[in-house]
Symmetry: C2
């Protein structure tokens, strides 16, 4: 077999393999025909939970939707996402947390803050004009039991049927994962931080 034949064989095997893949994918696409809003949860210890939610904000804006964002834990006041999306007329951006919980050291104040944030979230979840709601770091408020997960799930499931919601944060509650349509675990493989790299603008905030 000369080189050209080997190359032709490789191309033929590739085409055959791709043909099989295409058939499987086409069949799955044909089967998925329900159109409705989906509830997504981005959890895990890795990077990308909030940034994936902000990517969906861009995606939704590109389709002409209106978007509401509630940040339950405010880490810092100089984030690129807040600066950028506050300039977009179709985005309502609400920062409700006042510092990472280990900065406040005051559980009662954290509960009150989380409850005020949930009231804001509920208003978005009751507004059919909003196509996508981002509840950033809600999982942290649930993890520390600042909010009641049963009530949160009930409010999420009562939203308009076409509305999408993304919930982010580590350690998502089992009740929320059960209620969700799409759940991703962002797992940490490695992080620049471990090699002494500072949190860089444009990447970490």
């Amino acid at each position: 077999m000369n080189v050209n034949n080997a190359s032709n064989d490789k191309d033929a095997r590739h085409a055959e393999r791709m043909q099989r893949k295409k058939a499987v994918v086409d069949e799955k696409i044909a089967a998925a025909q329900i159109e409705r809003g989906v509830l997504l949860v981005n959890t895990g210890n890795g990077k990308g939970k909030s940034s994936a939610a902000f990517g969906l904000v861009a995606r939704a804006l590109g389709h002409g939707m209106k978007v509401g964002v509630v940040q339950f834990i405010k880490g810092r006041s100089d984030t690129g996402e807040e600066a950028f999306f506050r300039r977009q007329p179709d985005v309502a951006w609400h920062v409700m947390g006042d510092g990472f919980t280990w900065d406040t050291q005051d559980r009662s104040r954290d509960v009150a803050t989380a409850e005020a944030a949930w009231a804001q979230a509920r208003a978005l979840l009751q507004d059919p004009a909003i196509g996508l709601v981002v509840l950033d770091e809600l999982n942290i408020a649930l993890k520390y039991r600042y909010l009641e997960v049963t009530q949160v799930v009930a409010d999420l499931l009562a939203r308009p049927s076409h509305q999408h919601v993304v919930v982010t944060g580590r350690a998502a509650a089992p009740e929320l994962i059960e209620a969700a349509d799409t759940v991703t675990e962002m797992a940490l493989v490695k992080h620049a931080f471990a090699n002494g790299v500072k949190a860089m603008p444009g990447v970490e905030f």
Copy 2:
């Protein structure tokens, strides 16, 4: 012990736990002082690899950076992210792929397309005015060996020192993971698709 005391105890324990957490986090932050561009890889079978990259685009734009995006595999022409980011003056958006590989069934054409896309990527990686480069679905082009991973890694490492890069796609090459600073495995926990929900605008594209 009455109810008020129990509540005070709970608050005190919470404050103590948070104090310890804060000390650990503060120490880590103090240790991480290197400022440079980072190479991120978003891989795995779950949702959020590309959307997390697009979230970083928003984040970088909020900090006044210029951004370049190369899409190595073009799934569809009506994505929200493309519509939205093409409206942003500081974004250069290049769609180089012409269909998922299993739609083209033609290996030689795919190789030529990937090589043209890499030439575009290299131009961004040599431009110090670009703060963030997104190489969307590059991992797929590497997986099918449309591109040589050694050359790709060499070009990535030769970029300007302050430039951030995000590479997305399933099945990232070990050589790329080794070269990267931050790697996240987006693991599939569940997906709406499995319950018959169609790919929804604002969520899947």
